[in-house]
């Protein structure tokens, strides 16, 4: 026992059939959490004493930024697993994570810019945190582009995994940027050790949104990976049967 699940993960079909039942639960949970969190943050959390109502953007800006980074970990780690163990499923996860991470980084950048206007008086500034997040966005785009650039899927996987791994240098820079080069971007709102500089009436809706974004990310990553499995296994009998029997 013990390692059987790891070998089974090498079988995309097994993974596809195993995860069938998870989708509706993840969808329900993420929609519920995001609706509750957004309503709470928009209408029921108290106004910020310094920033007024513009701070309500935090309830999407911070979760999106969290997931932009978490998505990069997932992409880089599965890229490494694919490189080392030649696991097909890991390569598919890497490929699927890239566009999701890119969209979340885009959300973080855009909501940050919109939040910046009423708070700092400018949409954009070449602050260290913002610049390193922009770099993260380009790294995601690089992985997406490399996936499309090669005729052979294996070459594409190798190239994008290496880019993803090299790009991890950027991650600690993003985390530390607000402390190392403190300019306009405010320091972290949440701290894992010590007390966060945020009141609990604002913290709870924020945590709800963060968990909601995590579940949503898991859902979308799973959906994309499953579609990728079908795409790559489209010549097999089980996918053909699935396509014929299920017209959705």
């Amino acid at each position: 026992m013990g390692w059987q699940w790891f070998h089974r993960l090498g079988s995309p079909r097994w993974f596809y059939e195993k995860t069938n039942a998870w989708i509706p639960w993840l969808a329900l949970l993420s929609v519920a959490l995001l609706l509750v969190g957004a309503t709470w943050g928009l209408g029921f959390a108290p106004e910020d004493s310094e920033q007024g109502n513009s701070y309500r953007i935090i309830y999407i800006h911070v979760p999106a930024s969290f997931l932009a980074l978490a998505g990069y970990y997932i992409m880089a780690i599965s890229g490494a697993v694919g490189l080392i163990w030649k696991m097909k499923l890991a390569d598919m996860v890497m490929k699927s994570a890239a566009p999701i991470g890119a969209v979340l980084t885009f959300i973080a950048l855009v909501t940050g810019a919109i939040w910046g206007k009423p708070t700092w008086g400018t949409w954009w500034i070449w602050d260290a945190r913002i610049t390193s997040m922009l770099l993260l966005f380009f790294l995601y785009l690089g992985v997406i582009a490399l996936q499309e650039a090669f005729q052979h899927q294996e070459t594409a996987n190798k190239a994008s995994a290496i880019l993803a791994l090299v790009g991890t240098v950027n991650i600690p820079i993003i985390y530390k940027s607000v402390d190392w080069w403190y300019t306009l971007h405010q320091p972290a709102t949440l701290k894992f050790t010590g007390e966060s500089p945020i009141d609990s009436s604002m913290l709870y809706p924020l945590l709800t949104m963060i968990v909601g974004f995590y579940v949503f990310f898991a859902l979308v990553l799973l959906m994309r990976t499953r579609t990728e499995i079908l795409q790559r296994e489209r010549k097999t009998r089980w996918v053909k049967a699935l396509a014929g029997g299920q017209t959705s």
Partner: protein, 87 residues
Amino acid sequence: MGKSARGRANIVSDLTFQFESFSEFMLMAGHGPYVWACYLITAVALVYLACAPLVKRRALFAELQRQARIENHELNKRKQASTENSS
């Protein structure tokens, strides 16, 4: 930022809607356009993320069904041809 204007209290039992009316909720004392634009852009992006794999799967299945129909058609033609030859 981060300090509530009202100070600490019981979080859930203390929940009240922060705005006097719906129009004030929309305006948010001038910050409304910024806040609502962010939420709208995010909603659109998340809906796109959720729909994209479904659309792709539907297109793939349609393509596979089309291929299966063509294969069946050719298989039938070949069967017919072989029965005509043998008779």
